[in-house]
Amino acid sequence: MNWNRRHLLDLQSLSAEELTLILDTARHFKSLGERPKKKFPALLGKTVVNLFVEPSTRTRISFELAAVRLSADVINFTAEASSLKKGETLKDTVRNLEALQADFVILRHSASGAPHFLSRFARAHVVNAGDGAHEHPTQGLLDTFTIREKKGRLAGLNVTILGDILYSRVARSNIWALVRLGAKVTLCGPPTLVPRQLESLDPNIRVTWNLEEALRDADVVNLLRIQHERQRVTMFPSIGEYAALFGLNPARMKWVKPDALIMHPGPINRGVEIESDIADGDQSVILEQVTNGLAVRMAVLFLLNGGRSGEVAGT
């Protein structure tokens, strides 16, 4: 199939074929990353702007390296040191960047829907690098890529996502990609952060507050960071209590299948979501997720570069 989108705004609106095309393209970019010469001229002459209104280091570095490996010029624009602090609107900021011939805008923003808003007027390709509690498409893609690579498939797998689901854009992007590609998703965590209504998103989603039940049949356990910054009120008594009730420790690892993957989008809080020995253990693929993130982001930039205006726009 051909890729026809100009923007990557979310995974919810992507078809199984589109998701698979990104994952297959990423597989090639991963193998290209193993060559002695890792740089390719596919985006030579293009300008990529990392517009990070909400701070993030690892995602920005990953996008920056992806763009550089494809020979694009990269500008990093962070909210702390920008005109946004002086009261300029997001729209004006982007129009100014476009006046400098920006071809891609990678947007990280605390407001859900900010990339969709940009895509309505931007001439540049817009890539959502995380918008509020809505979606983080490239994280969902790299997690899905890692699972498919390690397990050889996605259809029929049981994937447990554990932690703060309510405020997690990572969870939401994972959920959409996984169910579209045929996996079954179990969501687990404190009831305040994992409402039963999440089951209404898709028939292949199950909510449980029983950790043992969530871990027993899992082929993949994806642990999420507690998003303190997005909680307006305290949703559980304390970090200590969260760790005591839902942290992955050696005793609970006994419930987990010996060939299950342990994943975490980072940054990990050792001793909270996961104990150190498990994060560094044989079942952990946390660092491979980082490597795969680079390949996925190269694939996204490469595909969007060919996306035509006037065809399928954004959502």
């Binding site: 393209t25 010469k37 390719f40 001229p41 596919a42 293009k46 490469f302 570069n305 060919g306 996306g307």
Partner: protein, 177 residues
């Protein structure tokens, strides 16, 4: 509507003749490697390498090369599928014969030269194509040509090989406008 340019007998003879021409141009053949351009050149390079191995009496290695990331039209079309590259030899100091099925604008050959140089500096590069259909847009010329075919831009040259599930024929087809 389509016209048969080569049937399977003629195709076999053509590939054999190309192999002999390559051997004649490269008498020792000890530094020779064949590189098929994805996707149309992959199986042709293998066939030529097999015949050359017989002619020389020593193995001539073949690999394949994806040129998608080096194309010059990536922002003008839907992104091309990426395909694997496998060069099971060092290209430095070798004589590389690039192999493709059809030579048309010359843009794929240009991309292939760039893609190849990511792997090193060959001593020389030669180009072998099964069909040269004209309409060059770049100063590219093949060293070994199976068949020269005058075409119009509204036609398409279809190379069908058994390795790809085809029937070893080359046909000229009219594209519907």
């Amino acid at each position: 509507m389509s016209a048969l340019l080569l049937d399977s007998t003629a195709l076999g003879r053509t590939i054999a003749r190309m192999a002999h021409e390559i051997a004649e141009r490269n008498p020792a053949g000890t530094d020779l490697v064949l590189v098929g351009i994805q996707t149309g050149g992959v199986f042709l390079a293998r066939r030529l390498a097999a015949q050359l191995s017989t002619i020389y009496g020593h193995a001539v290695p073949a690999g394949f090369l994806d040129v998608a990331l080096h194309r010059d039209d990536l922002d003008r079309r839907s992104a091309p599928m990426l395909r694997p590259t496998e060069l099971p030899f060092d290209v430095n100091g070798r004589t590389v014969v690039l192999v493709d099925d059809v030579l048309y604008s010359g843009r794929t050959t240009r991309a292939a030269l760039d893609a190849l140089h990511d792997f090193g500096r060959p001593n020389r590069v030669q180009l072998a194509v099964l069909v040269d259909r004209g309409h060059r847009e770049l100063p590219v010329r093949a060293d070994f040509v199976g068949k020269n075919v005058p075409t119009s831009r509204s036609q398409r040259v279809e190379v069908s090989l058994t390795e790809d599930g085809g029937n070893d024929t080359v046909t000229l087809q009219e594209l519907k406008s």
